[in-house]
C-alpha cells in the first residue's frame, strides 16, 4: 500500500507544476471583407530583444506561399517544422478564426510580443499586420489590423 501511495504522490507532485505553468489562451482574428481570396496568417512571438521565439499558428497549408509572410519567413527561413502541428486552413475574408492554445505562463508579462503576418493572393503582403505585447493587461482588448485584419483579441 505504501509504495502505491508514494507513486501516486510522486505522480501528483510531478504533474501539478506542469499544469500550473500553462493556461488555455483563445486568440480570435476577424478579417475584413477585402475582396480577395483566403488569407494566409502567421502568428508568432518575439522576445524582449525582438528575436524570434517561436510560432503559435499558421493559417494556410501550402508552404510555397509562406515567403509572402515575410516577417515570419525572415525569422524562420521558411522552416515548416516551426509550424508542424499548429497549421490550419487559410481564412476567408469576413470570417473569424478562433484558436485555443495551451500556452506557457512564462509568455505573459515577460516582454514577449505576438505578431501576425498576412498575405492574400493577388493582393499586397502585410507583414506585422498585428503586433501586440503579451501581457495579462492586454487580454480581452481588441486590436485593429492595418490591412486585412479587422480585429484581433486574445483571452486568457
Amino acid at each position: 500500500m505504501k509504495p502505491l501511495l508514494a507513486a501516486l504522490a510522486l505522480g501528483t507532485a510531478l504533474t501539478a507544476p506542469a499544469l500550473a505553468l500553462a493556461r488555455p489562451v483563445t486568440m480570435t482574428t476577424t478579417l475584413n471583407t477585402y475582396g480577395g481570396d483566403g488569407a494566409y496568417l502567421a502568428l508568432y512571438v518575439t522576445d524582449q530583444s525582438g528575436a524570434y521565439a517561436g510560432s503559435l499558428w499558421m493559417a494556410g497549408g501550402k508552404s510555397k506561399y509562406y515567403k509572402h509572410l515575410s516577417g515570419w519567413y525572415r525569422a524562420t527561413g521558411g522552416d515548416t517544422s516551426q509550424v508542424d502541428g499548429i497549421t490550419g486552413a487559410s481564412v476567408g475574408q469576413g470570417r473569424t478564426l478562433e484558436i485555443t492554445l495551451d500556452l506557457a505562463d512564462a509568455l505573459f508579462d515577460a516582454g514577449y510580443t505576438l505578431h501576425i503576418d498576412a498575405a492574400v493572393e493577388d493582393m499586397r503582403d502585410s507583414p506585422n499586420e498585428i503586433a501586440v505585447p503579451l501581457t495579462t493587461g492586454n487580454s480581452g482588448t481588441p486590436v485593429a489590423g492595418r490591412r486585412y485584419i479587422s480585429s484581433f483579441v486574445y483571452d486568457m
Binding site: L19, V45, S63, S81, D84, G85, T87, I99, A104
Partner: protein
C-alpha cells in the same frame, strides 16, 4: 454401350462449341494488345513500373517567383492554367508542407504547455 457413346459425343460437341470461340477470343486479344499502347501501360503498371508521358507535370512552376509576384508582374501570355494554386489549401502532407494541427504535437519551442492540443474554429 450406346449410352456411353452418346454421352461422349454430346460432351465433345459441347466442348468444341464453347472452347473454340473462347480460344479464338484469347488469340484475338493477345494480338490486339501488342499494338495497344494503353494495354502496354496497363501491363507496365501491373508489373510495378509506370510509363510517364511527361515527367514535367509539377504544378508548382512558379518556384522563385512566388504566388503573388506573377500577378504583380503580369501574366506571361502562355495561356496555361498557372493559377491553379489556390484550389486545394487543405491538401497537407506533401514533402514541404507542415503537418496539420491534430496530426502531431505542437513544436517544442517553449511556448506551449503539455496540456490540451490546439483547438481551432472558423466562423
Amino acid at each position: 454401350m450406346k449410352k456411353t457413346l452418346t454421352f461422349l459425343l454430346v460432351s465433345t460437341t459441347l466442348t468444341a462449341a464453347v472452347g473454340v470461340p473462347s480460344w479464338a477470343a484469347v488469340q484475338s486479344m493477345a494480338t490486339s494488345r501488342e499494338h495497344d499502347p494503353n494495354a502496354l501501360a496497363d501491363d507496365a503498371v501491373a508489373g510495378g513500373s509506370l510509363i510517364l508521358a511527361s515527367a514535367d507535370e509539377d504544378e508548382d512552376d512558379d518556384h522563385g517567383r512566388g504566388f503573388l509576384s506573377k500577378f504583380r508582374m503580369g501574366h506571361d501570355d502562355d495561356d496555361e492554367d498557372d493559377d491553379d494554386d489556390d484550389d486545394d489549401d487543405d491538401s497537407y502532407g506533401s514533402a514541404q508542407s507542415p503537418a496539420p494541427a491534430g496530426s502531431v504535437a505542437p513544436p517544442q519551442n517553449g511556448l506551449f504547455g503539455n496540456g490540451a492540443p490546439p483547438k481551432v474554429q472558423m466562423n
